[in-house]
Symmetry: C2
Subunit: 195 residues, 2 copies
Amino acid sequence: MRRFVIVGHRASTTGDFKLDDVCGGAGRLDVLLRCVNSSFFLSHSLRRDVEAFLVMKGGEDPPKTLRFVGDGLRYLNPDERSTASLVRNALLRKVGDEEVGSSPGIFISRMDLGDVLEKLAEVSEIIYLKEDGEDVRDVTFDGDLTFVLGDDRDLDEDEEAILKKYSARSVRLGPLSYHSDHCITIVHNELDRRQ
Amino acid sequence: MRRFVIVGHRASTTGDFKLDDVCGGAGRLDVLLRCVNSSFFLSHSLRRDVEAFLVMKGGEDPPKTLRFVGDGLRYLNPDERSTASLVRNALLRKVGDEEVGSSPGIFISRMDLGDVLEKLAEVSEIIYLKEDGEDVRDVTFDGDLTFVLGDDRDLDEDEEAILKKYSARSVRLGPLSYHSDHCITIVHNELDRRQ
């Protein structure tokens, strides 16, 4: 199982944004939407052995986390607008202490980054995608993996402190700094080659 | 200089589609929009040494080719909707025998795949991204490169015949079959590592 945790620093946590304005009005939700695409899509199929977590910290009702589960996903299309619609539907759900299902394979909860990693650290190694880390091609991976990355902003000090708590290894993907969704594509390609 | 040529088999060649419906109404234009994103975007910058060609074969007025030139690009944002708007503006231009500028760094012409490759073969090697090609990590590249790929459909026999004319080498990116925009991201990463 591969897992990706993407931190949306300003991403809307209410469903009152317009689908025509996912960049500005929804706090750069567009970045997270592209991360969902690159987490799951193969040519003419979906990666069923993947989970993606969008940790949304912006808007009026933070924190919220959307969990996408490849094994159960339906109605996911590769374009940004239709994924934004799925995200909006989830954000319109009433969420209490328990995670709530929104549509097949999509769940929403009140988890923040610390809660998400606390759960995932029990079942997988935590990897921090960071420009000054070890080159991914030189890293030996073992077992289940969780990759953590920011949206259009790097993780802040508090978020990095959470990663440190779980002894996250820092891994870099190349000599340049890439968009988050491109990072996920490169990670997948590297791991595909090892299987 | 890196160049990407993406063949949009059903992509609209008129500007009368809705920005809310770039998948269906515009002939899977969404695939091409994501290819523009992955061709040019780095974290907080654009790749200036890249050209992307969208060869559009669908709709009512084919063929048309949109050329995006990294060195002159302005007003390009990473989201699909705003890029769709730039594409639509270009398609609304009247195009005769000569290429026409639409917005900074974006040009439109009547070229088809054969015309595009005839030009590019003079200045670069042509590479065909195909699942049964040689592994990209084992390939030695020299000089300027042009990578050719389909949208959500593979190249057809006629298109492959054009590639053959220019002795295109077939190159694969991994053990799985990826979306076109993901292919471009993987190519960039491989070439970034060699520079």
